[in-house]
């Protein structure tokens, strides 16, 4: 019986993230548009875009290889699995021990590795520029993320997300300098990883500074739909991650009590709404950076996270 419950919750989470991800992106777009005094597309527009793309034929370049066709599925699958393992409304998911936070980040790294390869498959200038810059950003964002994980894991004594969330929810956390530094670094990394302003512009097309869009330029139809969906999922994943590590209030323990689950879901949605508001305001208020300013931006994250880790090594009380 317990196993069926657990399976149900794990499956529920997988469906939930899949449904919420386009909605989240739609909401961020809507808020951004309102901040710019535009009316903006309806909330459900991402769903309509996906449905439209899925129905269309996929147009492949003459020399596209099998890798080009497999990568969207691979990338979507890796991102989906990663997103399903982050505690959202209830911790202690059935398969939460499959991958700890380090493995989760590496899973996203796999998705990026293959997408960058797909960008180079056809042999165009744009694909190459996108892949090259994506890997440049990753080469700084990944170590920064690893240092953030170190800092938090050293406080929580675990890299397991459920344990970390439970620890962060307990009163023994308190205010710590290293946590503050790690949060700041995590936000910078999340902005970069999701190709948001100021690192990349998700709304742009045909601009020399674009990174993510340049990589996926050759994609169309269902392949593009999968990549878009994976991008939505990634945004949701990072927001859930920040929420579960730094605002773990309301995440239910491993119970099946309907009231607790309702609280969990409600608080999760509230956190997402708050997060997308902050993201939209931040993106509206700031200008996009030159590509070669990005290393300094991410370098700051790396240094902050390293500092946080060093503080943990130096003293237990920071």
């Amino acid at each position: 019986m317990a196993l069926i419950h657990d399976l149900l919750f794990q499956g529920g989470q997988m469906l939930l993230v899949l449904l919420l991800a386009p909605l989240l992106t739609g909401f961020v777009r809507k808020v951004k548009a309102r901040l710019l005094r535009r009316r903006g597309p309806p909330l459900l527009q991402p769903f309509r875009d996906l449905a439209r793309l899925l129905r269309k034929d996929a147009v492949l370049a003459e020399n596209a290889s099998w890798l080009f066709r497999v990568v969207p599925y691979l990338m979507f699958a890796a991102t989906w699995v990663a997103a399903s393992l982050v505690p959202t409304f209830r911790s202690g998911l059935l398969f939460s021990w499959t991958a700890d936070l380090i493995a989760l980040i590496a899973l996203l790294g796999s998705a990026r590795f293959f997408l960058a390869l797909a960008g180079m498959d056809v042999g165009t200038g744009f694909g190459g520029i996108g892949a090259s810059r994506e890997m440049m950003i990753a080469s700084l964002a990944e170590p920064a993320m690893m240092m953030i994980v170190f800092a938090i894991a050293l406080i929580a004594g675990s890299t397991q997300l459920s344990t970390m969330a439970a620890f962060m929810n307990s009163p023994e956390v308190g205010l710590r300098v290293s946590l503050g530094l790690a949060l700041l670094a995590l936000i910078i990394v999340a902005v970069a990883e999701n190709a948001r302003i100021p690192v990349d512009n998700p709304a742009t097309h045909l601009e020399l500074t674009m990174v993510h869009e340049a990589m996926v330029l050759e994609y169309s139809g269902r392949h593009l739909a999968l990549i878009e969906l994976a991008t939505f999922l990634k945004l949701l994943l990072y927001m859930s991650l920040i929420a579960c590590l730094f605002a773990p209030w309301g995440i239910g323990a491993a119970t099946a009590d309907p009231a607790e689950i309702a609280i969990g879901v409600a608080s999760y949605v509230a956190k997402l709404v708050a997060g997308s508001f902050l993201l939209a305001v931040f993106e509206t208020a700031i200008a996009k950076m030159r590509v070669f300013r990005v290393p300094q931006f991410l370098g700051a994250a790396l240094m902050l996270a390293l500092l946080a880790t060093l503080l943990r090594f130096v003293s237990r009380s920071f």
Binding site: E62, L67, F76, W97, L117, M135, E142, G157, T309
Partner: protein, 667 residues
């Protein structure tokens, strides 16, 4: 068991003269590589039996120094490295079955190949310093002969020269290390050395000498200079062995001396090891990103991975010195598992590079491209190797790096302040090198195998021989299996970690669902098999649902490229342009990289030029002054060759007096 292993090695040695005799005949190649394959498998079995049966065996043969004899012994450490070395040798021999058809001078490769295999095995089996050093030199010299097999190329001769110098230097350091370990009594058997560990100061000196001696063979920065020259110069199956396997023999030498013979470690021993390892990891991958030669990129990537292994070994030393045996066992397991993993995927990648070289005649990535269409099978297995070396789950490279990170997370419990600051820094450098390795191998695969062919050679490439593809396929399968079921390998390593680290990791095969759990499940766990199954299942479900419910139609069209496709293949991204962002960020600091763009004046028809200049900081600051100094002293000492007989006699007399004075004043 040790006798069986020695017999197999003797058979390998006998194969060398057979190689000379049969070099010209058509059966020479199949004989040598077939016998090497069979004997390697025998040695793998010997290793597996010794490791799983927990039994040690020793033998003393009447060779070598008259009062010493030649000691040979298989313990758990030797058994594990026997498996690593001979798995790699077996795969390389199988690959060579097909690949060596392209060898123009089989007479220069066939005799040395089995001798080289024998040399590596003898190093592992030796149980006294004399046999160890003789085998070590034998291994170096036979591989040197293979490096200069194609000696009509000037650069190969230079590579061989640098290799010979560095190998001699490394052996010299090891000689001193063993001398210190043997002490005044001069008993060179490992058993005696183990029984009488040296004093703390001498042990420290032994550590440094071992780090220099074994490190120069393994390719630790700054002693790596020979490695990216020599490894690519050899025929590809030998490159695979040098990079995948011989560097592991060097790691074995280091573990044997420092963890086994030098007595209990002091806390600071780990500091130089961690520092050198972390610097090596980052420098190796940065160098790799600056190279155009496919095999040289792989050689530099070997340096990076050796850095990772040494960081893990440093952690193991730190934990061992602090009597945290479970953590030492975790770090040591990570190091050994990475040794095994790296031997598999680096073998695979070098074989793939060899297949590309045979198909196109090119090692320059700038002249490759589009090989995924022409060599689909090689391209697939090479992709697996690239993903494994970039530490992507669910492949094997990730598991060992993950274990290293888990070991790092245990280190705040260490007492000393130096380590408290050193280990997070090493962790950051390790994370940086892992991320850069991803970029490096996207570049390698994207430029060499994807895109459009950049030369006629790449356009007309053909798939490699079936047996070579099978060899690479087996290696790729091993990478996957070790990635999704690492628990079996970790459990098999328990006797080794007991021997050198005094503890073991928890039993992995008893964990539910075969997860990997370094300490406890609430702390951290990873299950490669489930990750693999989940990704495969969700990818297939997505494909099925979409193909069923939405659309499964494909149309082929011209390249889109935002509406401005260029027919010329030179407008593709090149290896240099791919590396440009990283060259600008890291290269300007590390390599003093500069970019010079020359634009012609408006009316001129001269071409525009772009040059990127990258300096090798270690060559500039260490090797260049050293060679200048040697040349200078040689010049000054040259006068000694043209003295009169009287002066020579007085010189000899002065030397004699000086030596007698030294002897007289000796306490």
């Amino acid at each position: 068991m040790v006798i069986d292993a020695l017999l197999a090695v003797a058979a390998l040695l006998l194969l060398a003269p057979a190689g000379i005799a049969l070099a010209a005949s058509p059966i020479g190649r199949p004989t040598v590589y077939g016998a090497s394959l069979a004997l390697s498998l025998v040695l793998v079995v010997a290793g597996v039996v010794s490791l799983s049966g927990h039994h040690e065996s020793a033998a003393t043969l009447p060779f070598g120094l008259p009062w010493l004899g030649a000691h040979f012994r298989i313990d758990a450490l030797t058994a594990f490295f026997l498996i690593v070395v001979n798995l790699g040798s077996a795969a390389a021999s199988l690959f060579a079955f097909g690949y060596s058809k392209h060898e123009k001078f089989p007479g220069r490769v066939l005799p040395f190949y089995p001798a080289y295999l024998a040399g590596m095995n003898l190093v592992l089996l030796s149980a006294d310093a004399f046999s160890f050093l003789v085998s070590w030199e034998f291994m170096s010299l036979s591989s040197w002969a293979l490096v200069i097999a194609h000696h009509h190329l000037r650069e190969n001769m230079r590579a061989g020269y640098v290799y010979l110098l560095m190998a001699s230097f490394g052996t010299l350091s090891l000689l001193f290390a063993f001398g210190l370990l043997a002490g005044a009594s001069g008993d060179y058997a490992f058993d005696t050395m183990r029984a009488t560990p040296p004093s703390a100061e001498l042990a420290a000196l032994v550590l440094i000498l071992a780090l220099v001696g074994a490190g120069s063979k393994a390719g630790l920065v700054p002693l790596h200079a020979w490695l990216p020259l020599a490894h690519p110069a050899a025929p590809s199956q030998v490159s695979a062995l040098m990079s995948g396997v011989m560097t592991k023999v060097a790691v074995y030498g280091f573990i044997r001396i420092v963890f086994d013979l030098a007595g209990p470690p002091a806390w600071w021993w780990s500091m130089p090891v961690l520092f050198v390892g972390a610097v090596t990891a980052v420098m190796g991958v940065l160098y790799a990103l600056m190279q155009r030669d496919l095999k040289r990129v792989l050689a530099y990537s070997t340096i990076e991975n050796i850095g990772i292994v040494f960081v893990a070994l440093g952690l193991a030393l730190a934990f061992k010195a602090n009597a945290m045996n479970f953590a030492a066992a975790l770090a040591m397991t990570a190091a050994l598992l990475h040794v095994l993993n790296h031997s598999l995927f680096k073998n695979l990648l070098f074989c793939g590079a060899g297949a590309v070289l045979a198909a196109t005649g090119e090692r320059d990535m700038e002249k490759l491209g589009g090989l995924i269409h022409r060599m689909p099978r090689t391209a697939f297995v090479f992709l697996v190797g690239c993903a494994a070396v970039s530490a992507l789950p669910p492949l094997n490279g990730f598991v060992s790096e993950w274990l290293v990170f888990q070991a790092i997370l245990l280190s705040p419990q260490l007492a000393s302040w130096g380590l408290k600051l050193m280990i997070p820094a090493a962790g950051a450098l390790l994370a940086l090198s892992a991320a850069l390795a991803g970029a490096c191998f996207v570049r390698v695969y994207g430029i060499a195998f994807l895109g459009r062919p950049r030369s006629n050679a790449a356009r007309d490439a053909h798939e490699s021989e079936r047996v070579s593809v099978v060899a690479m396929g087996l290696l790729a399968a091993a990478c996957l299996v070790l990635g999704i079921l690492p628990g079996f390998a970790i459990d098999a390593l328990a006797p080794v970690t007991y021997l050198v680290a005094g503890g073991r990791m928890p039993v992995q095969t008893a964990v539910e669902w075969l997860s990997t759990v370094p300490i406890a499940e609430s702390r951290s766990s990873y299950n490669g098999m489930l990750v693999f199954v989940f990704i495969a299942a969700s990818g297939m479900i997505a494909a099925f649902v979409i193909h069923r419910l939405a659309s499964d139609k494909i149309r082929r069209g011209a390249i889109w490229d935002c509406g401005f496709p260029d027919a010329s293949t030179v407008t593709q991204y090149s290896d240099d342009s791919f590396a440009q962002p990283i060259r600008r960020i890291f290269g300007t600091v590390v390599f003093r990289a500069r970019e010079i763009g020359e634009m012609p004046t408006p009316s001129s028809t001269a071409p525009a030029r772009f040059t990127a200049i990258v300096r090798d900081p270690i060559w500039d600051t260490l090797y260049a002054p050293l060679t200048e100094f040697v040349a200078f002293t040689a010049e000054k000492l040259n006068v000694l060759q043209f003295l009169t007989i009287r002066r020579y006699l007085s010189l000899v007399f002065a030397a004699l007096v000086l030596l007698l004075l030294v002897l007289a004043s000796w306490p």
